[in-house]
Symmetry: C2
């Protein structure tokens, strides 16, 4: 007998008035005095539970069904019918309930019926997907992830796997994790480790902070490419917006300009939010109830407004005019901090803001120098609640200017000869951006802590599992 | 003016007999005595080049066009017409050719017109995507990658990001990369590094070899899940089939059996190959010409046969009957080596083989013990040319047996309490498999060395970029 998912029932309205098999976990059990029990069953395919009606005529009613507690796993065969109670829509009249797995000590089950705080749930990353909230987030993550892939595929971008292990010591490597065969738990032992073990790659190796530079090599030959994978930051910052490991989508396009790809990224963000509204309306309704009462209005607003497109200089002028609001000094050349960005997006524009043409000194060496020679052709998209969600730029495609910029940034020719080659042989104007996946999920869901929107969060001092 | 990709022209037959803009790189230039030059242009969207006809009436004909060499980048506006030469199908009569990037010293350009060996190309991973062969592989990788996602999404699997940085010291951690803030290039310096820096996570951290265990946590709550990302092996093996970093698709399904998911994986593999035959026929034709004359027959054969499904014991019997062919002793309990697997697949069955029920001692602790108590409910799918392409199993869902097996394998309770929790609270039968993405690409393309089917290969002693 084929398994029916609860999403097939509630979203596709499949198999109504037929006998079906469902698998799942018990969320709740209520017993009536008339010898009927009501079980709420959950299978993770949808936020909704299905009410199962179990009569005392079932052979295991007393021995097993009356003992079912939250978290027990069951297989149920029964007839799916329209419910008389509007709240439930459908219900399943059980012919057979097979108990698969029990919860031996219900009181010690960390996902008990009681509502838990997100903070509490973080201690049980292996069990928290059993809660509604993490189920909701998982399904929204899936929609966003797949929508991003579909969007790029439909526009003929090729997916490229950029490497995780890298020798590219971007920005001095201070914020990069090192990879080796050295064991931090037994420091003295390392001295005895053979040379092979110590230096697997015969050179220093790091966890990548971005696949961009290698992705550029593919843009400079296959024209339209993107990557989507984990990236890493070894920053000692324990904020609600930072993770040591997170997913990033990066795109790189040949023969294009920063203006074109920033417009493209605005379309992309709106498209993703539109798809979540279409595909995850029940999940969003759950979030409306428990997390953000304003969620539908907030997301739909994004679809219906144009993002504000401003120059760094304009943003700076706005901040200068309101400098009394900020404790830090504001002048040309600063990198806007969180509070300043928050002011621009949430107070001043009350909408996402795209900021262009940042001072060259606060951006990496690879960004294209503008003709004013003091700014680079970069853009950041700042969102309410979460701040920077996308950062991109045109890449410096002129060999001599790149060489010069690298000297200023003390990037050694030795490590980047290959990157310079891309400018030596048939160079092209090209641009790209990176989209922080978890930041986007954080914005969409309205949650407050990035640790709650990734299955197994990693941050300084915190590595469970 | 909108850019037309060469794939739009050759595959979608767009814009014929209209004036179009193309961007790309010069592959070849031939000049006729009558003042016409023929340029072959490539943009990476398809293996085919477009012939451009440049007349000496173009203003930059002498100054620029006659100097174009392989690798130069150009923007061309012209009229797209049917070619009189059958070989070309279409050609572009140029109205305007703008040279974007030149190749300053064509003789030193590593991707010169001459055919290079794959081994030579490996030294130029940043430029090799400009070659036909790496372009072909990149497009096939993209098809396979996206087809895998589409397949799982269409069957309502949720994508889950399993973590890269892990504390799970699977199989003793000997083959795992360690992550730290320790610097292998300056060993003495490490002694001075502050404690935070030394132990970012306050415990030993590794690069994951598989996301399976964490994916199980999600299967045990969301029913149908998959992950697809990079995994790592710090093995000192420098073979043509091994990489230190590669991509793996892993799926995990609740309430299922090993037989069901092995059948599912057979359908999956055939579906992927079918899609490559549909979407990459030009790429496969290129491979037929230069790599494997038999490629279409080989791939279509996979679609039309049933994989052989055998028990480990049966495989062993076959090898025993032919033990004179093998130098190593064959007996119950061995893990088949490459030569033995090759014999089974390529000599004996001449088809992919699915082997079930391996001896428990050669498989990991998490595989479900069969009722015979000497085998586990595992399966491996062995393919011609590449060997194991998929490995999967039913997972041990019985708490006490798992606990027992862990003791035998010396897995400490401390590290795996969370994994045991999945069996303690509403346990379910579940199974899953891992698919080595690059192995599959290797098989499909018919290439010989796995370093050629991943953009930036990493192996022992080899970390460029």
């Amino acid at each position: 007998m084929k398994v029916t998912l609860l999403s097939d029932i509630f979203l596709k309205k499949k198999n109504i008035n037929t006998v079906i098999l469902i698998n799942g976990w018990v969320r709740n059990r209520r017993d009536s005095k008339s010898g009927i029990s009501f079980l709420d069953i959950y299978d993770g395919s949808i936020v909704t539970t299905l009410q199962v009606i179990a009569k005392n005529t079932l052979s295991n009613y007393v021995t097993e069904i009356l003992k079912l507690t939250i978290g027990c796993s069951v297989k149920i065969v029964g007839k799916l019918i329209h419910s008389l109670h509007k709240k439930n829509i459908y219900e399943l009249k059980a012919h057979l309930i097979q108990v698969i797995g029990t919860v031996s000590s219900p009181k010690s089950y960390p996902m008990s019926a009681k509502r838990h705080t997100l903070e509490h749930l973080r201690n049980f990353c292996h069990l928290r997907p059993r809660t509604n909230i993490i189920g909701v987030i998982s399904r929204i993550r899936n929609t966003v992830f797949y929508t991003l892939h579909k969007f790029f595929q439909s526009k003929q971008y090729l997916w490229v796997a950029t490497p995780i292990i890298t020798s590219i010591n971007t920005e001095g490597g201070g914020d990069m994790f090192k990879i080796s065969m050295l064991d931090t738990s037994n420091y003295e032992l390392n001295k005895k480790i053979k040379n092979f073990k110590k230096k697997f790659f015969n050179r220093s190796a790091f966890l990548t902070v971005s696949g961009q530079l290698t992705l550029e090599a593919y843009a400079c030959s296959l024209s339209k490419v993107y990557s989507f994978g984990p990236v890493f930051r070894a920053e000692n910052s324990n904020t609600k917006k930072h993770l040591a490991e997170f997913w990033m989508l990066e795109m790189e396009k040949a023969f294009t300009t920063v203006k074109k790809i920033s417009n493209f990224s605005e379309i992309l963000l709106k498209h993703v939010i539109q798809k979540v509204l279409e595909k995850n309306s029940l999940d969003l309704s759950f979030l409306k109830k428990y997390i953000d009462n304003n969620i539908f209005i907030r997301l739909k607003k994004i679809l219906n407004i144009n993002f504000f497109h401003i120059e760094y200089k304009e943003a700076l002028d706005i901040l200068l005019k309101n400098s009394h609001l900020f404790s830090e000094k504001i002048f040309w050349g600063i990198d806007f901090n969180t509070i300043q960005e928050k002011y621009l997006v949430e107070e001043y524009f009350k909408a996402p803001v795209v900021i262009y043409n940042y001072p060259k000194n606060i951006k990496p060496f690879y960004m294209k120098l503008n003709s004013d020679e003091i700014t680079v052709s970069a853009f950041d998209i700042l969102f309410p609640l979460v701040g920077e969600i996308i950062g991109g730029s045109e890449r410096e495609d002129r060999f001599s200017i790149l060489e010069n910029r690298m000297k200023i940034f003390k990037e050694t020719q030795k490590d980047y000869h290959w990157y310079q080659d891309l400018r030596k042989y048939g160079t092209i104007p090209h641009a790209g951006f990176g989209l922080g996946f978890e930041r986007l999920i954080l914005y969409i869901t309205g949650l407050n802590n990035i640790r709650d929107v990734i299955p197994f969060p990693r941050s300084v001092g915190d590595l469970k599992f």
